[in-house]
Amino acid sequence: MDRMKKTPVKEQDPKVRATNFDEVCLGYTVEEAMQEASRCLNCKNPLCVTQCPVSIDIPGFIKCAKEGDFAQAAKVIARTSALPAVCGRVCPQEVQCEGKCILGIKGEPVAIGKLERFVADWSRENNIDLAETMPKNGKKVAVIGSGPAGLTCAGDLAKLGYDVTIFEALHEPGGVLVYGIPEFRLPKDKVVKTEIENVKKLGVKIETNVIIGKTVTIDELMEDEKFDAVFVGSGAGLPKFMGIPGENLNGVFSANEFLTRNNLMKAFKDEYDTPIKPGKKVAVVGGGNVAMDAARTALRLGAQVYIVYRRSEEELPARVEEVHHAKEEGIIFNLLTNPVEILGDEKGWVKGMKCVKMELGEPDESGRRRPVEIPGSEFVIDVDTVIMSLGTSPNPLISSTTCGLETNRRKCLIADEETGLTTKDKVYAGGDAVTGAATVILAMGAGKKAAKAIDEYLSK
């Protein structure tokens, strides 16, 4: 074996997987995992750990994996992360832990993500009990939202002996892990459900179908239901639209709607009642991970799919791996292209999308080169469905119904970066609700910090 190269991981053939919703990556075998683990230099001063938002002891768990002690490896991870099987699959390791791996200077970094995934899957398949909690301390904490931020915060507090209840607006817990990220990237029953079950095993209660701000308010939770503190991890759920003509035609969807129907409501499974309109030719507008997810979902439902993105490949916000997988599966990338109007037929259904070609000008405030229209370059893409994937913003349902909870001009909750404390006493927040749409692992990091701050506050 070449020590400078990652142990390759098996994937479903692109032609086959383009027609099913099974997971793309098949994961390591025991031998492959041990071989990959043996590449780790076990640095004295591990830079990988500094890049992990939840500070997993990476050399520690890899050392156990190298020796074949996967149960111990799982316990090492469980000390700091409640969702390793999720993170091993969806974290952007290339810019976090793996990005700082010493091996990466001359060769390829250790496949930390794939090892984390292997250890988490192995511990699930072998029923390793990871639920170690301290005695109950009698204090109640409410966690709003059961996505990555909420699950992490709830898990950490439960381990410390708190009586934690998670309130979830939808009918199933998991947040974006369930409604947003598709099955082929993150299996729901096998991975997400199990990790949520593990959080429940710590004693966390989950009440679904409770919309904070509608069904009950934060003030009522504290006054009437006697919660000592509240953590808001309600995510960024509101879809953005472009505001161009034709956006309300039949056949224009938000990525949120399209993905929710397919992921949460399982439209791809015939035995479910959820309707979905995959279309025959689909344009997905946007270049983030959600756009890739929507595009690859439409493809699997039988459509020919275009990504339409106004900057160039270099600026695509999606993970490199997702772009690579999308291309392998046959998604067509129309880069440096911006929609200006959606065209409808006489009955009000989408029949095409008028776009304009772009070129890159001077860098804008984000540091990326600003796309500028090329005059006279209009052209029409022949599509019957358009999926808008332009990002999301936090839902104002909570901020608008909670006295003293302030937001910034992007509608994000104002919270202290270190503690998550909001402008309201005893109310903490973290994840996309504070940052706007970001990643699973950053939300988990915020949930973790808030759990620590809540514990410090309530132990005073």
């Binding site: 607006a169 939808l170 009918h171 409604y179 679904t208 179908n209 409770v210 919309i211 509608k214 069904t215 009950v216 759920g237 509101l238 879809p239 639209f241 956006e247 309300n248 039949n250 969807f253 938000s254 949120n256 709607e257 929710t260 129907r261 409501m265 399982k266 015939d270 035995e271 479910y272 009642d273 959820t274 309707p275 979905i276 309109k277 025959k280 009955k347 009000g348 259904w349 019957d384 839902n395 349902l397």
Partner: protein, 296 residues
């Protein structure tokens, strides 16, 4: 799980159910709605709230069997449970927040079409409980389709009934009866609240705009989550895009783009039709029709 405590067949294909949902009942106001999901594999179905019992902790829903899911829902009996029941969703009716004394000065008439009588009832009842008696027009196909007649009589000042076939009350459409009340009887209404089929609300709003009478309508577009997440329910009101689930469901009827709203309601008609066919005829319509494109 949310238990059905009572079920009544109130008209042909129209059912009323009292459902145990303490948290929803505690928080609900007239004008709001709920989402029901019958079982694991079911759709999320938005339904208007017909009554709220805060003491018993129940919400009354009324629905008409129209497609696959509502037909399935009609098979549920008292004692059965819905897996999911969430709410209250949307904004309460505007008058809930208004000054009662100011409200008492207004002459209000509700116009309900078909099952629209169900969401109208809690609004009329709320006003009645606050010392305001409103008039109500209920329109339906024929006498047997008339909902909640006694209940409505008990809380309204006048209940006017219109039937398409003249089998009860006024013969004709609710818009004609409203016209008569406004122009012939000179009732001097300040506010019309119209709830029913989109086409009915469109024509009521068209008429009241000519007459210069403020009009509120309640929209029932397609939606998934009901919390602003999916954007399926977007409607154009006064040239601006609104999400009916969080900004509505009630809007100024003179500003709603009804034609667009009606067109958007048909989005999944083909898919739903296929679902019904599949259930009735077995798995013969599996791959979306013959490929001729006529299924769009």
């Amino acid at each position: 799980m949310y238990k059905i405590l009572a079920k009544r067949n109130v008209a042909p294909n129209i059912y009323l159910m009292d459902v145990e949902a303490a948290r929803v009942a505690k928080a609900a106001y007239p004008g709001q709605f709920v989402i029901v999901k019958m079982d694991e594999k079911g759709e999320r179905i938005p339904l208007t709230i017909c009554d709220i019992d805060k003491v018993r902790g129940t919400i009354t829903i009324v629905f008409q069997t129209m497609g696959y899911s509502t037909t399935k829902m009609a098979e549920y009996e008292a004692g059965d449970c819905f897996m999911d029941f969430v709410g209250p969703l949307g904004q309460p009716s505007e008058f809930v927040h208004e000054d009662i004394e100011e409200l008492k000065k207004k002459k209000i008439i509700f116009v309900a079409g078909g099952v629209g009588a169900a969401p109208v009832y809690p609004q009329v009842k709320w006003l009645h409980e606050h010392g305001i008696d409103a008039d109500v027009i209920v329109g339906c196909k024929s006498k047997e389709y008339l909902l909640l007649e006694d209940e409505m009589k008990a809380v309204s000042r006048n209940l006017f009934v219109a039937t398409d076939d003249g089998s009860y009350g006024y013969k004709g459409f609710v818009t004609d009866l409203l016209k008569e009340k406004v122009e012939v009887d000179k009732m001097g209404y300040d506010l019309v609240i119209a709830i029913g089929p989109m086409i009915m609300m469109k024509f009521v709003a068209k008429y009241t705009k000519e007459q210069g009478i403020n009009t509120i309508v309640s929209l029932n577009p397609i939606m998934v989550d009901g919390t602003g997440m999916c954007g399926a329910c977007r409607v154009t009101v006064g040239g601006q895009v609104k999400f009916a689930c969080v900004d509505g469901p009630e809007f100024d009827g003179h500003l709603v783009n009804f034609d667009e709203a009606m067109r958007r309601q048909t989005l999944y008609k083909t898919e739903e039709g296929q679902k019904i066919l599949r259930k009735e005829e077995g798995d013969t319509h599996h791959h979306g029709g013959c490929g001729c494109g006529g299924d769009k």
